[in-house]
């Protein structure tokens, strides 16, 4: 039997691949409690990678998409609405399957895009990995969900704020940057916190669907499922991964709470937007 220290050394970075720990995952009767704690913990690396990068990239795209959705020009708002509807109206689980099987069909050698003076070769083989392809699906998905939130916030910006901006002679991008964007962010932030939480929860679907876990490096829930399959005992690994996710959720609530405070710092206490753990659950 391994000691806890040995398990720690073997498995704490195992999610990064074979070069960072044991060659094989523990199997059958060889599995100790410490193995489960550290291996599932090491899977959190990918959970944070998927959730963090998807949020970062998705945020910028979502603001643009929300503005497009709110546009009075139908040629702009209709496509934006269609994009949001497509990703919000269908299950993320199926989206993973769909995009994976689409990515597989792309030519292995890459796609050449002639730009006149230079030919750009897009590397398509990376798209079939979870780390790139799965991330793209998550980014598109969170963009749609966040854009819907931001669009809702744009709709509920107080009329007075916009009139005040007009009175000060603000227009165009200046008005957006100084008045519309801060108000939108402040109004949307509590729901955006929920979006962050449930995006983190939905990273569990990446390896459950079509994307392969190369060298058995997956995220936390992938390992939890692996252990349950090995030990046929759901009462250890699943509560453990649930515990990790509760901790992650609390960290997100704390971090986003700090931002929320700074977004609301100019307002009297009773007018501040407060966070409520809310209904958005699964996708």
């Amino acid at each position: 039997m391994r000691s806890c220290v040995e398990s720690f050394e073997l498995y704490i970075l195992r999610a990064l691949g074979r070069d960072y720990g044991a060659n094989l995952l523990p199997r059958g009767l060889d599995i100790t409690l410490c193995d489960q704690i550290f291996l599932i913990g090491s899977g959190l690396i990918w959970t944070v990678y998927f959730a963090g990068l998807a949020m970062l990239i998705g945020f910028g795209l979502a603001v643009g998409l929300a503005v497009a959705r709110f546009s009075e020009n139908r040629l702009i708002s209709r496509p934006a609405a269609a994009f949001i509807f497509f990703f919000r109206g269908s299950p993320l689980f199926i989206q993973f399957f769909f995009f994976y099987s689409a990515f597989v069909l792309l030519p292995r050698s890459g796609i050449d895009i002639p730009l006149g003076f230079v030919t750009l070769t897009v590397n398509t083989s990376a798209l079939t990995t979870a780390q790139v392809g799965g991330l793209i699906v998550l980014v598109l998905n969170t963009t749609a969900y966040s854009a819907e939130l931001f669009h809702g916030a744009l709709r509920s910006i107080p009329k007075g704020d916009l009139e005040a901006a007009d009175a000060y002679g603000l227009a165009g991008f200046t008005k957006f940057r100084r008045v519309v964007f801060p108000s939108m962010l402040r109004l949307a932030w509590p729901s955006y916190t929920n979006e962050a939480i449930f995006l983190t929860h939905s990273t569990t679907l990446v390896f459950l669907s079509a994307f392969p876990a190369r060298q058995q490096s997956g995220e936390a829930f992938y390992y939890a499922r692996y252990f349950v399959d090995q030990t046929f005992n759901p009462f250890v690994a699943y509560p453990m991964v649930a515990g990790y996710f509760i901790v992650l959720t609390l960290v997100i609530i704390a971090l986003f709470g700090l931002v929320n405070r700074s977004l609301n710092r100019h307002l009297p206490k009773e007018r501040r937007a407060r966070y409520r753990f809310g209904p958005q659950y699964l996708r």
């Binding site: 009329k159 459950l208 046929f232 649930a242 209904p279």
Partner: protein, 293 residues
């Protein structure tokens, strides 16, 4: 299905597709859509019932009941639901077998968990060892229904509890002033009115429930995802209908199915949203006011 389908390799394109899309495996694929609808039709009322019980427990003044409700709702809400979908069927299955084991084989001396095996006596197996395949299917399906109902019951409980709190207090006080008991006031005043307040939350949960149905695949049920993978995969000339990797088109079909399912609810939402924005001092309300003649 059609009379010309005897040798598909000789057929022109449209007939080939007509035969291909109506062969036996495709009919099973279409039946799987029915399974999804059946799951929705069973789970929705069960979850609503669970939710009502949960909301009553949350409202209850008897503290063990209240704690039970609080625990149920908060645990389910704080953990990724996928954990529950995979945990509940295994845990419940083992729990049932354990209880059966205690009843059927009281003089069994070996431990039930030996290493990585979960061993109960032969009589305690659920479903029974020699059960036909359809019984096993029904059992797996029932487990899925329980898992869905548990998770969505917690969501519904939370929404209904909020809705019950939203019914104006003055009305309940008036009912009590007329001499109604707490139960009577609940039945006659709160219960009929709370649905108005619960409706936005419930329709949201309904959409989430629709989108959660493909997870049946993870529970080992031959659902639409299973069949889309099977049928879409590349078929060599050994098969009657050889074709390249068509999984993308099958999953596109599934996406369209789900989009159609959520479309109706989305429409209803949009109407509600417009109705609620009317006359509000917000950007949307302002735009509406200016547009009006």
């Amino acid at each position: 299905m059609f009379s010309f389908c005897t040798d598909p390799s000789l057929l022109p394109d449209w007939q080939w597709f007509a035969c291909y899309l109506t062969n036996a495996t495709h009919l099973q694929f279409y039946r799987a859509f029915g399974v999804v609808l059946v799951l929705l039709a069973i789970t929705a009322p069960v979850a609503l019932g669970m939710g009502l019980l949960g909301a009553l427990a949350l409202r209850s003044r008897i503290w063990p009941l209240n704690w039970l409700g609080q625990g149920y709702v908060n645990i389910v809400r704080g953990v990724p639901d996928i954990v529950f979908f995979l945990f509940v069927p295994i845990a419940l299955g083992q729990g049932i077998e354990w209880v059966m084991h205690q009843i059927q084989c009281p003089d069994w001396d070996q431990p039930i968990r030996q290493g990585n095996d979960f061993i109960v006596c032969r009589e305690a197996k659920v479903p029974p060892v020699n059960a036909p395949a359809w019984v096993r299917d029904i059992y797996a399906f029932a487990m899925a229904v329980v898992a869905f109902a548990l998770v969505f019951g917690a969501f519904v409980a939370n929404t209904l509890y909020g809705a019950m709190q939203a019914v104006p207090k003055a009305q309940i006080e008036t009912a009590e002033a007329y001499g109604m008991t707490r139960a009577q006031a609940f039945r006659r005043i709160v219960l009929p009115q709370m649905w108005v307040y619960a409706l936005p939350g419930l329709s949201n949960i309904w959409q989430i429930l629709i989108k959660a149905t493909p997870l049946l695949f993870l529970l080992g049920i031959q659902d639409i995802v299973f069949w889309a993978r099977e049928l879409g995969g590349q078929k060599t000339s050994l098969f009657a209908y050889p074709h390249p990797d068509w999984r993308m088109w099958y999953f596109l079909g599934l996406l369209c199915f789900y989009l159609a399912m959520t479309w109706a609810s989305e429409r209803a939402f949009a109407r509600l949203n417009v109705r609620l924005s009317r006359g509000q001092a917000t950007a949307a309300g302002e735009r509406m006011r200016k547009a009006a003649p």
